[in-house]
Amino acid sequence: MSIPSPDLDALQRWMQSVIVHAGGVHQGIVSADAQAEIPLPVEQIDIVINPSTSQSSLERLAVYSNAYKARLLEVLISEYPALVHAVGEEAFVGLAGSYLEEHPSRSYTLADLGRAFPAFLAASRPPSQTEDGSPDWADFLIDLAHLERLYSEVFDGPGTEGQPTLQTDDLLRLSSEEWLTARLIPAPCLRLAEYRFPVHDYATAVRHDQDPPFPAAQITRLAITRRAYMVRRVAMEAREFGALSALANGLTVGDALQRVLADRSVTIDDLANDVRTWFRNWAVAVYFVGVQ
């Protein structure tokens, strides 16, 4: 059999179909995508790829196929170390392989490769294993992946370094009326996330080369941000997290505090004390950069 020399576009589409095929180069060559570009039985691969003195054409193509998978897995393993620890490397490779099949890279940067991994895990999770619907192992993994991706995005995304930030003095200068109608501008690196497990403690333990156990479910509210180019995360109780979330979502200070007061167990005096502490801590943590 002979085939005319394929043009550059057909050759590239053929080679890509072959080397990214999850089943390896043999299955890649006989796949519909590859055959659509260069109709070729496996035994005649030498028509397209030259053998060398020490490797067959198939073995040579397999170098690229193996490298493709290994490289992208290496990137995901690097970005999700706590998740790898939680499920074990073998299971992670299985999950990541399925993810890469569904979400092949279309970006010039490997930093984008793992962007959709938490959503992929959530979409492909098995049915809940608890009778009462309480959070289970799969929920833990989904939350953990979400947190690790947030770390990546906060670390290399926009931040406040070298920029003016909101200080407590800026707030003290406001009149009572201005204070209640003020809207605070959140730092571009601030992320607020509520999880079903203390995934931040688990992730930190793994990063410190410890071997943490699967934690018990516990509602965990985190403020994640960056200061001096380092990602920082703080766990918060419900009221502070609620107020911070309301302000970060653009509510006025008055409306945000009103939300907290909707909880009838909170008195005005309690809230006044809390607010002083919260705003002092938030200024130190650089959650806001200004007042509107």
């Binding site: 028509i47 493709y68 290994a70 670390f155 290399d156 995360r233």
Partner: protein, 313 residues
């Protein structure tokens, strides 16, 4: 006749900038001639990597080296990518911008590998046209590197060295001559590396790359994970004398040792710039890369595999 190195300076002996070395570089400010960055790791960064780069750019010359231009792909050029590349080059006052003679994907996919091209007249016309377009967008000559490769195409009608030489002349671009890649491909494809080097237009060589590789017995893989072996140093000596010298950089991208080890490796190049061959007295280099066992093959990943990892308190 172009000027030697297309008029670019010989920057001396440089090192690839890697994030694991940031603390050492900021604390010690070592006496390094210049740094090369992986462009894609910095062009979108708004965090520590970019901040450190800007600090270093105040003191050291910076060269940009990309892995995703995909100059040989039949997909359209990524205009957004090219605009970001130019913005970064302007911001860090890059001495020049380089990438590889390869394609990285097609149909909007990116394999993040440096995939080989069939060396044909059609490919040459295609790549020359795209290099000219990129040079117009970047407003500077592009510098292109010969990649390591693991297959050759039956459709090729010319050897790689002829393709590289004609591409550089016809597109009027510079060359980043990776001596280790020449060696790796010469073993994988059974050609004479000296014939390759002698066919390269010397005046277009703006930069050299040196690196370690992995010997799998049946073939070599460009892993950038160890010392430069003696045969590669010999090729470097030959290329240095043919070209009159050019900026030389060591790449070390996996199993990265402390910065002084990496720096010391590139400084060995001085021993090969003299006319008489003098092997370095420190014998960390080898006559050939040790062959690794089959069990390790799955873990052998050719360059590039570079990602910036988050630092969390």
């Amino acid at each position: 006749m172009p000027l030697p190195r297309l008029g670019h300076p010989n920057l001396g002996l440089g090192v690839g900038l890697r994030t694991v070395h940031f603390p050492h570089l900021l604390q010690h400010q070592p006496d390094v001639d210049w740094f090369e960055i992986i462009s894609e790791n910095f062009m979108d960064s708004q965090g520590r990597p970019r901040a450190v780069l800007e600090q270093l750019a105040e003191r050291y010359p910076i060269v940009m080296h990309g892995v995703s231009m995909s100059i040989g792909s039949t997909d359209p050029l990524d205009q957004i990518y090219l605009r970001k590349l130019k913005a970064l080059a302007d911001a860090v006052r890059a001495q020049w911008v380089s990438d590889h003679i390869c394609w990285t994907g097609v149909a909007s996919r990116n394999s993040h590998d440096l995939l080989p091209l069939p060396y044909t007249e059609q490919t040459l016309r295609h790549v020359v046209e795209r290099v000219r377009t990129v040079q117009e967008i970047l407003e500077r000559p592009l510098v292109l590197e010969n990649p390591s490769s693991y297959v050759t195409f039956a459709a090729s009608t010319m050897p790689e060295w002829e393709f590289v030489a004609r591409l550089a002349d016809e597109a009027d671009c510079g060359l980043l001559l990776d001596v280790n890649n020449v060696f790796v491909s010469s073993v994988n494809h059974d050609f004479d590396p000296i014939e390759y080097l002698d066919a390269i237009p010397a005046e277009r060589v703006v930069q050299f790359h040196l690196a370690g590789h992995t010997n799998l017995g049946t073939h070599l893989i460009d892993t950038h994970d160890g010392h430069v072996i003696d045969p590669v140093w010999e090729l470097y000596r030959h290329a240095h004398h043919r070209t009159g010298g050019a900026a030389t950089l060591l790449e070390w991208d996996a199993k990265i040792p402390p910065f002084p080890v990496v720096h010391a490796e590139v400084l060995k190049a001085r021993d090969y710039m003299t006319a008489a061959l003098t092997l370095p007295t420190s014998r960390e280099s080898e006559s050939s890369a040790p062959e690794v066992t089959v069990g390790r093959v799955a873990a052998v990943v050719p360059h590039p595999a570079s990602i910036v990892l988050a630092e969390v308190e």
